[in-house]
């Protein structure tokens, strides 16, 4: 059944503009979730792979066993103490281990009451971990030589990803995915938005072949060649010189579950048209995932340094 909305758009916009919590977002007509992390994790939890009917965690895929629990972070650093978030004290932090190739993932699980346009908005920042005497990799790394302004920790950050796990009522499963690749696997700056051209490997594909993927495999699309650039231009984000300064970036991403396609991605002042970005579907139909509407954010380090993705807040809205 189609929902009819009263055309009170101006009043609605005024109410949103008058609310200091919502006015920094640009939601579609219905807000499904508004997550400000001063009040907990709001359903963003660790992702792990599937285990067997005995609850034996040894049967979880090795590359999906250690995506790390998210943290409620006051953005504390060694040099200034508490930085705080954009909306109050606390942000959601997703942190990798200091292991090259390690990925940390936080997921939020919903279902669709109807198909249509879905929008994910967040204010985020990303950082590498500050160094200690023991963990320092020196004053140059990747493309960066420390000169007082530039800092090698920026080149120690790999990538972060915003993504979905979607499945129709008729069993067609697919993922809309967008990744900011800060550096390539050689730690050279790329600063590109990329997307995968293959669906994510499934637990069933790996069940009898655990050698298939290593613990540090890129679980979204393991082969680097399966990631293509969204467009020709890099996007420079605000790292702000050292690993202990936090600046919040706006991200707004739309996709359409009616057409199973991306629409657009906005990151700060840049809007990228994603209508032609392909969304690979799984060849097999799925039972038990009807109307799946999952969101995940992940962060992947390309260096032996912890990488962090912080979300100040997130808002999920729909046009139904």
């Amino acid at each position: 059944m189609e929902t009819t909305h009263v055309p009170a758009d101006e009043l609605r916009r005024a109410l949103i503009a008058a609310d200091p919590k919502l006015s920094k977002f640009n939601p579609l007509p219905r807000i499904l979730a508004f997550d400000e992390f001063n009040t907990g994790t709001h359903g963003w939890c660790e992702l792990i792979g599937n285990h067997d009917g005995h609850g034996n965690l040894d049967t979880v895929d090795v590359h999906m066993r250690d995506f790390r629990p998210p943290q409620i972070s006051s953005c504390d650093f060694f040099d200034i103490g508490t930085h705080g978030a954009m909306s109050g004290n606390y942000a959601l932090k997703v942190a990798t281990r200091p292991v090259t190739g390690h990925t940390a993932v936080a997921i939020r699980r919903l279902t669709m009451a109807q198909r249509g346009v879905v929008q994910f908005e967040t204010y985020f920042t990303y950082k590498s971990e500050a160094v200690t005497e023991e963990s320092s990799l020196g004053n140059s790394f990747g493309d960066v030589v420390w000169d007082g302004n530039l800092h090698p920790s920026e080149a120690q950050f790999g990538a972060f990803t915003v993504a979905t796990d979607l499945c129709d009522g008729d069993g067609i499963r697919y993922h809309c995915v967008a990744r900011y690749q800060n550096t390539d696997l050689e730690n050279r700056f790329t600063r590109r938005w990329v997307y995968p051209v293959v669906p994510e490997p499934t637990p069933r594909e790996n069940l009898y072949n655990q050698e298939n993927l290593t613990p540090t495999e890129d679980f979204t699309a393991p082969n680097p060649e399966d990631w293509h650039a969204l467009d020709e231009e890099p996007q420079f984000l605000c790292y702000n010189e050292v690993p202990t300064k936090v600046n919040w970036h706006y991200l707004r991403w739309q996709f359409d579950t009616r057409t199973r396609t991306n629409i657009e991605l906005q990151v700060n002042d840049r809007i990228m048209d994603m209508r032609d970005v392909p969304v690979p579907q799984y060849p097999d139909k799925y039972d038990g995932l009807e109307n799946l509407l999952n969101f995940y954010v992940s962060v992947r380090t390309h260096s032996p340094v912890r990488n962090f993705l912080f979300l100040d807040s997130a808002l999920i809205s729909v046009d139904w």
Binding site: T39, G40, T41, E46, I48, L57, D58, V60, R65, D66, R68, P69, Q71, I72, S73, S74, D76, F77, F78, G81, T82, N89, Y90, K93, A95, R97, E129, A130, T132, S135
Partner: protein, 111 residues
């Protein structure tokens, strides 16, 4: 209502040497409780020694005032931590001949 959060810091991980868990930020929490579930403890008279560590920045660590816990067999052990500042981790040392421990480590936090 209080806020509560449980983090699983290690999941069916097998250790053969001393280790520390990943840093965990918990400035919002008033109280914490470690749960260490030892699935297997093997070797020659193996013991697993567990101590809470605290940190102001997630980089530099020291033991807190809580007594060290000693595990000698599979099972669940737990102890509480309070007034811990903003960062927590667990320091574990394995003793005995060729010791090996398979553990789950939970950190349960409450505001």
């Amino acid at each position: 209502m209080k806020h509560a959060l449980t983090a699983v810091l290690e999941r069916n991980t097998t250790f053969t040497a001393d280790f520390t868990t990943e840093p965990y930020e918990a400035g919002w929490a008033t109280e914490a409780r470690w749960f260490v579930r030892t699935l297997a403890l093997e070797g020659d008279a193996p013991t697993l020694h567990l101590a809470t560590q605290v940190s102001p920045d997630g980089l530099h660590w020291c033991d807190d005032e809580t007594a060290e816990q000693v595990t000698t067999e599979p099972g669940l052990v737990s102890w509480r931590v309070r007034e811990f500042g903003h960062w927590l981790r667990l320091r574990a040392s394995l003793r005995g001949g060729d010791p090996q421990a398979k553990v789950l480590i939970y950190l349960a936090l409450k505001s």
